[in-house]
Symmetry: C2
Subunit: 115 residues, 2 copies
Amino acid sequence: MHDNCERVDSIQLEKLLQKVPDPESITRMAAVFQALQSDTRLKILFLLKQKDMCVCELEQVLSVTQSAVSHGLRTLRQLDLVRVRREGKFTIYYIADKHVRTLIEMCLEHVEEKA
Amino acid sequence: MHDNCERVDSIQLEKLLQKVPDPESITRMAAVFQALQSDTRLKILFLLKQKDMCVCELEQVLSVTQSAVSHGLRTLRQLDLVRVRREGKFTIYYIADKHVRTLIEMCLEHVEEKA
DNA sequence: TGAATATATGAACAGCTGTTCATATATTAA
DNA sequence: TTAATATATGAACAGCTGTTCATATATTCA
C-alpha cells in the first residue's frame, strides 16, 4: 500500500465518495447485475419480455432441465426482476417492471453498437 | 426431461425464440452484467460518473489494493464500460458512454424503489 | 543515466455459481 | 383418494471470480 499521488485531493474525494450510493444499495445492485449475468437467465428475460410464460414453456424453449429453469426463475424473482401469478396448475412468470426492460435493452444496445 | 404441458405451442415458441438476441450478443451481455456485479467495480463507476480519475485516486477512495483497482478497471475496460487516456504519468479512466450511466442509474432506481 | 512514481500483470487461493440429479410439494382430474 | 401434471428445492460437484502478493513495465524528474 503506498501513499497519495499528486493528483489526490482527499477533501474532494471524500465529497465524491459521499455521492456513491450507500453500501447496502451497492450490494443490492451487485446482486441484480449478478442475476443478469447468466446466459440462461437473460434468455428467460428476453422471452418473458414478449409474453408471460409458465415454467414448462421456458423449459421447452431453452435447452436446460426444468430444475435449471426453476432455479433461474427463483433468482430473478428474489430480486424482483420477474413476478409470479398462479393460473390453475400453472405458475406464470412475467417481467416485473419497466426498469428491467430498460436494463436489458440498454445492455443489448451497448453490445450491438460494437459488433 | 418431460414433455410439453398443455400451454406449449411449439410454433409460437419458435417465433418468440427467434426474437431473442443471438447467442453471441447474449454472451456479451452476460459479460457486461458480470462486470457490473462487483461492489468494487460498481463503486468505481459511481466515482467515475462524477469525475475522471487516475488509478491512484480510486485506490485512495476505495479501500482495496492498487492491484485490485487495476484488475477491476481492466475488466471494465475490456467491455468498453470505461475508457482510458494518458495524461503524463497518469492513466485517466472515464465512463465510456451514456449506456453505462443509464445502466447503473436504472439499477439504482430499481433497488431504491423497494428499500 | 538512475531513482521514484504510476500502473499493469501473473499466480494462487478461497469463496461463490449454475447445472444436474433426486426428490418434495402443490394442483387438477379421475 | 389416487394418479398425473407442474413446479420447487436441496445436495453436490465442476468451473469461475476477486482479491492479494510479488513483480514487471512505463513515465517523469533529478
